[in-house]
């Protein structure tokens, strides 16, 4: 099963609204990252939050991390049509393998 699972699988909102996506994971982590993927393209790194951090901001992005619940949320404020994409969380485990484990993603559609 996936280490990271995003919720919802799909989200449709109007331009100007906020979009919130959630990610749950199973094992202890070193950090959690969010990536965006536009249709037909590779993933682009958005933001990273370390296991000892609870909240982080980058422009219109706000990420929270609750290690006790093993969950994270990504908030995009004042969404734009250009935010239409798939969003993935990825976790770096505390020990063991160096690679990231990705969830199955949330497809965000922002209607103009």
């Amino acid at each position: 099963s996936q280490q990271g699972e995003e919720d919802p699988q799909a989200l449709s909102i109007q331009e100007g609204e906020n979009a919130t996506m959630n990610c749950s994971y199973k094992t202890s982590i070193n950090n959690l990252q969010w990536y965006r993927q536009n249709s037909g393209r590779g993933l682009v790194h958005l933001i990273l939050i370390r296991s000892n951090e609870r909240e982080k901001h980058s422009g219109r992005l706000r990420v929270t991390l609750d290690t006790s619940k093993k969950s994270s949320s990504l908030l995009i404020t004042a969404s734009r049509a250009a935010d239409t994409a798939s969003y993935f969380c990825a976790t770096k485990r505390d020990t063991g393998r160096r690679a990231l484990t990705f969830g199955s993603g949330t497809r965000l559609q922002v209607q103009p």
């Binding site: 070193n30 393209r41 590779g42 682009v44 790194h45 993935f88 770096k92 160096r98 969830g103």
Partner: protein, 117 residues
């Protein structure tokens, strides 16, 4: 795409034929990764490399092999392609090791769409 190219970008092949995908980076990053992306599964790690000639298996490594003879190139080989290997393949690189305290932000290539008939 952070100095990462993948070739070919599209390939159609037949079951049973060998296929090699190439990832080339100009960033001199130590770590390189191969993922496959399928609907409903997100990205799944096939193999990764933590240095020249140093590789390790990921979660879906069966049927795949890799080689890294130079820092800049990471090859993914399907020895005998099957229809279940039809997918989009992404290469990624990272600089930090992912050790405790290392953050392992990854940069992705544009992807290769492989169809096995």
């Amino acid at each position: 795409d952070a100095g990462i190219t993948q070739s070919p970008r599209h390939k159609v092949t037949e079951t049973g034929t060998p296929v090699t995908l190439r990832c080339h980076q100009t960033e001199n990053h130590r770590y390189m990764y191969w993922y496959r992306q399928d609907p409903g599964h997100g990205l799944r790690l096939i193999h990764y490399s933590y240095g020249v000639k140093d590789t390790d298996k990921g979660e879906v490594s069966d049927g795949y092999s890799v080689s890294r003879s130079k820092t800049e190139d990471f090859l993914l080989t399907l020895e005998s392609a099957t229809s279940s290997q039809t997918s989009v393949y992404f290469c990624a690189i990272s600089e930090t090791s992912g050790r405790v305290g290392g953050y392992n932000e990854q940069f992705f290539g544009p992807g290769t769409r492989l169809t096995v008939l």
